[in-house]
Symmetry: C2
Subunit: 138 residues, 2 copies
């Protein structure tokens, strides 16, 4: 496999990382994700890493890069589903994932993204929430 | 990897199949998914196969089994993201995925699940939709 699928959930994009990241895969993910943000006008990116046993400095840097790229494209990034052991290892390695927001699971991550949007544009969110629920988007 | 992550999205569960299925992985997925349906009281299961180039009779049967198991546990199953080439191959192989509902993408699949729930319990859905959007669930 050389591409990780990116799923559109209402106004957000969801990426589930299930396999070990190598250079090519990470590059493709960055390219695909930035294209999809522009294409779908996504306002947020959720990256689920619940399947990962280990997050090393390479993946840590990649997550930071994705967050920065998305921010420039006006989309927030939330990393969700981190295992307790991964959090321990990250801190022990001195990696604190600067600039990356985290949430316990996809539901909480989506809540966080909606809250952020809410603070930005109070008017837009009720509409967004309705459309999200009914699935009437795009 | 011997387990595929199962993500909870409001009242639904989402499974993204990214790797080739082998016996052990399929068995684990069935076990994990049925446990999660019971545990989270999920009313629907979305299975994304957009990463799969090929769906053979083994995967076809597994999708059918998952749909049947979920149905018994009162959850609907929708397979989403099937590639055009996969649909062609399936029909050529004489596999029409009986009992499995499909949708173009996750958004459409979720819409389908919400519509089904809507027909079942008109009262519950507005509430569900609201909670889904605001993320205030469980």
């Amino acid at each position: 496999m050389d591409r990780i699928p990116i799923l559109k959930l209402g106004r957000f994009l969801l990426v589930t990382v299930q396999v070990d990241m190598h250079d090519r895969l990470a590059m493709n993910l960055q390219e695909d994700l930035t294209s999809r943000i522009v294409e779908t006008h996504a306002r947020g990116v959720l990256i689920d890493i619940s399947a990962l046993d280990v997050v090393d400095s390479f993946i840590g840097r990649m997550l930071g890069n994705i967050a920065s790229m998305s921010r420039i494209l006006d989309a927030d990034t939330v990393v969700v589903g981190m295992r307790p052991a991964v959090a321990i290892t990250l801190v022990e390695l001195g990696l604190s994932l600067p600039g990356v927001r985290t949430a316990l699971n996809v539901d909480k991550g989506m809540e966080l993204l909606l809250t952020t949007l809410d603070h930005e544009q109070p008017g837009e969110v009720a509409e967004l929430a309705d459309a999200e629920a009914s699935g009437e988007r795009y």
